[in-house]
Chain length 202, copies 2
Amino acid sequence: MPAIDFWYEFASTYSYPTAMRIERLAAEQGVTLRWRPFLLGPIFKAFGWNDSPFNIFEAKGRYMWRDLARVCEGDGLALKLPPVRFPQNGLKAARLALAGEKDGWTPAFTRAVFAANYAEQKDISEDATLAAILGGLGVEAEAALAAAASPEVKEALKAQTAEAQARGLFGAPSFTVGDTRACELFWGNDRLEAALAWAKRV
Amino acid sequence: MPAIDFWYEFASTYSYPTAMRIERLAAEQGVTLRWRPFLLGPIFKAFGWNDSPFNIFEAKGRYMWRDLARVCEGDGLALKLPPVRFPQNGLKAARLALAGEKDGWTPAFTRAVFAANYAEQKDISEDATLAAILGGLGVEAEAALAAAASPEVKEALKAQTAEAQARGLFGAPSFTVGDTRACELFWGNDRLEAALAWAKRV
């Protein structure tokens, strides 16, 4: 069965519209989806960036916010700008997304965190925000937060980020089709359709 | 009548597929098209870049060449990699494109220069390459090259680049709808359809 990996970072703006539409599109195309949260920070550091490129390069940032508004409008998606902070620290949310894999709440949790960040002006680095999201999904928040802080999950996120880097990722959202060593890489919300088409043709 | 400005730089890779399809798409949508060559160099310098970001950031460059190949394949467009040099110096070609406006050969000249760069592995900074292109279009090459070297055309390209910067451009291809002070900006070959739709709705 055709499959793609969806690589996202909770601080990434364009990962928001992707997270909200990818499950529907993948299902329509009969493509299996793997949700893969990772961190862009270590990858940007290798570029010499200690902040989002949208903050470092002002003209790019100004454009991105306007373009994101158009994209969200086109998708009928709520967007409330500016967010609480940009970029927000998505470390804890990424660990939770990994911790949720075995019980299957990663996709719903991911969508709720993106909505909290970009549609609800909430601070996604705060336990209170994350616990409320988990509660809304019927997940026992205290246990999930404890699992997310375990050495296993911390290591798993490091490994996932290292794998992203090994696959040549340099931004989010990204999509890969195939194995680490010979995967086909697609970057950007606007490449989702192409990635799904590629998965079906492989 | 709805109208868009098409901003391009001869060194820009994604400007190539755009140059090859924009006239057809604009005509289909009933949108008037203005071809606006400019230089990215001064804009990149303001970012602290003395080279193409695709050379500075290796992972981005590796991805871009692969993605460009997919895009060109999808459009049925020839692509021969690597080009003679990347980025090539498009200064003289940009001046010629401006000089061609009054006689109407700018679009055909632009397409031929992009094909020379990305499909024919030619050096577009050389007079011989440019003269052959002009000859193929039935343009008197010597006179055109002289016009392109005139102070008027040199100043016109500087003014065009300054206007691009004033409009918030930071890459190519870009599309703008509306006046300098309040224009709607779109960046990237993959935003062409959105720019045309915007022009029709204004």
